[in-house]
């Protein structure tokens, strides 16, 4: 189990090598998301001349986008090592992992977990800054408990994201290019997960489509937990769905891995 600590430390060190780049990227991304969402919804609230739309005040909506941007960062785990599976297959560096005395997919998941740790730190810093500047909405259910529950939910939901990512990345065993599949996956996740618009605003057909995918579990589920907008029953229901998807994707990823390794030529393409 010593390797887990070593892999996590290595991943953290790698991520923080270009510190300025790292923080500028994060602040730029989250800052842009928050500002755009704030101005967009401010315009909508002003046009409607109301203080609440779909159960959201402007301040609650701002927090919605804050938590969706930050929890997505935790869930994705920065897409570090796990994002390089296709590269490992293409340039043949997968060979060395096959020789290491540790499981390849386990190695990648530990790296993903380390990245999730950085995501939690970033969320806490942004939350501290934003709550100090704009305060909390009056109708808010946000508390230390929901914050901790949201972080825990984002952490375990990250495993589902990791499995989805791994299944797509391993298509590289058969195809020359997979980055575009990942880009499509990211866009679909963001839209049907509720990062662009809360799912409550979707028409019925949109919510139905989203319900049959794992995407709401990746964003809407942790965000609702952060905001305290989910009952214990709903939370457990989503958790059961999460377990179902994890079981299915674990089997699928193992099946792809077994077949893929047999296909792997070991010299790159």
């Amino acid at each position: 189990m010593k390797w887990i600590k070593m892999v996590a430390a290595m991943e953290l060190k790698k991520s923080l090598t270009y510190r300025v780049h790292f923080w500028v990227q994060f602040v730029g991304h989250v800052g842009a998301e928050l500002l755009v969402a704030y101005f967009l919804w401010k315009a909508v609230f002003e046009t409607r001349n109301t203080t609440s739309i779909g159960g959201f005040s402007l301040l609650t909506m701002t927090y919605y986008y804050l938590f969706s941007a930050c929890s997505l960062r935790i869930v994705r785990g920065g897409e570090g090592e796990a994002g390089y599976i296709s590269t490992d297959i293409y340039d043949g560096s997968l060979t060395r992992y096959l020789l290491y005395p540790l499981p390849f997919l386990g190695f990648k998941y530990v790296a993903h977990l380390a990245q999730q740790g950085i995501g939690i730190l970033q969320l806490l810093l942004v939350f501290l800054f934003v709550s100090t500047v704009i305060g909390f909405p009056n109708e808010s259910s946000i508390s230390l408990f929901t914050l901790m529950a949201g972080i825990a939910t984002s952490l375990f939901v990250g495993y589902l994201y990791y499995l989805l990512q791994v299944c797509i990345e391993m298509v590289a065993f058969w195809q020359d290019v997979v980055w575009n599949l990942m880009a499509m996956f990211r866009m679909t996740t963001i839209f049907f997960g509720g990062a662009v618009l809360p799912l409550a605003f979707f028409p019925d057909w949109g919510r139905t489509v989203a319900h049959f995918t794992p995407f709401p579990l990746l964003i809407s589920y942790p965000v609702k937990t952060f905001l305290g907008q989910i009952t214990l029953f709903e939370w457990l229901e989503s958790f059961a769905l999460f377990i179902g998807w994890v079981l299915f994707l674990t089997l699928l990823s193992r099946w792809i891995w077994t077949r893929g390794v047999k296909q792997y030529s070991g010299v790159g393409i």
């Binding site: 780049h21 842009a32 755009v36 409607r48 779909g54 575009n180 599949l181 499509m184 866009m187 839209f191």
Partner: protein
């Protein structure tokens, strides 16, 4: 004139080479087309869903917003076709010293490095965005003058150049930061500002988005000039900022090359 012809011929070779390359990787070719179509569908769906909850946004109704969406999808398609691949690889060339090979060629290095990798698949997406624009114009309740539509198309191309300029300036930071992607990713994150109508922004944010980081000028201003009365000040503002940004790109490129130290850069 001979110089222009020479560069046009060279660009023609880039396009021909790109088509042969993309047809060799057919799966990638079609997947990239599908990827951008998903992006356009999400953009359209976002505003269609939003307009279920509000009658207008930033002073525009839904048909007007669809023209705006078509506009920014077109700027994205033009960028993906002409510039994106090139700017994506630029920081790697700088950090690995591969830039040397481009600096030695008897053509403008800036021209070569920004237009070398033409994305043939994105050209098909450009036609798709043109289709979205035709759809948006056809469902627009009022007639739009052909001259204004032509001006809109020219300004959308201008918007793509402007975005390329902003992206280029941020990517060129790789000369100094030595990071894997420069700050080019920032341009894509900040482009989110340009994907919303400019009138929703207020105060300093609005001032910044129309001057220092002119994302609102990319698609929002051209749309205003198409669906509202032609305002010469807006037009001059748009063209002035584009010229200023391109002068900055050329200056910064020459300045950066003076600080480029090849493989150890």
């Amino acid at each position: 004139m001979r110089v222009v012809l020479r560069y046009t011929r060279l660009f023609g070779y880039f396009v021909a080479f790109s088509f042969s390359k993309f047809f060799e990787f057919r799966f990638d070719f079609f997947m990239r087309i599908l990827m951008d179509i998903i992006y356009y569908l999400i953009a359209i769906s976002f505003f269609r869903i939003l307009f279920l909850h509000t009658p207008s946004l930033g002073g525009w109704n839904e048909p007007q917003m669809m023209i705006f969406v078509a506009g920014y999808c077109m700027t994205d398609a033009i960028n993906m076709t002409l510039f994106s691949n090139n700017l994506w690889h630029l920081p790697r060339f700088i950090n690995k010293g591969d830039l040397d090979y481009y600096l030695l060629r008897p053509v403008s290095s800036l021209f070569f490095l920004t237009l070398r990798d033409f994305a043939a698949n994105s050209l098909i997406n450009l036609f798709c965005t043109f289709g979205i624009l035709v759809w948006a114009i056809l469902r627009y309740p009022e007639p739009l003058a052909a001259a204004k539509i032509l001006l809109f198309l020219l300004l959308i191309f201008n918007g793509s150049l402007l975005f390329c300029g902003i992206n280029m300036i941020m990517t060129m930071m790789a000369f100094f930061s030595h990071s894997g992607q420069g700050f080019g990713f920032m341009a894509w994150s900040l482009m989110r500002f340009g994907e919303r109508p400019d009138r929703i922004y207020q105060g300093w944010t609005r001032r910044i988005l129309t001057t220092l980081l002119p994302f609102s000028l990319i698609a929002s201003f051209p749309t205003r000039l198409l669906i509202e009365d032609l305002d010469v000040t807006t037009l001059l503002h748009l063209l002035g900022i584009t010229i200023l940004f391109f002068s900055m790109v050329v200056w910064l490129w020459n300045f950066s090359l003076r600080h480029y130290t090849s493989a150890s850069s």
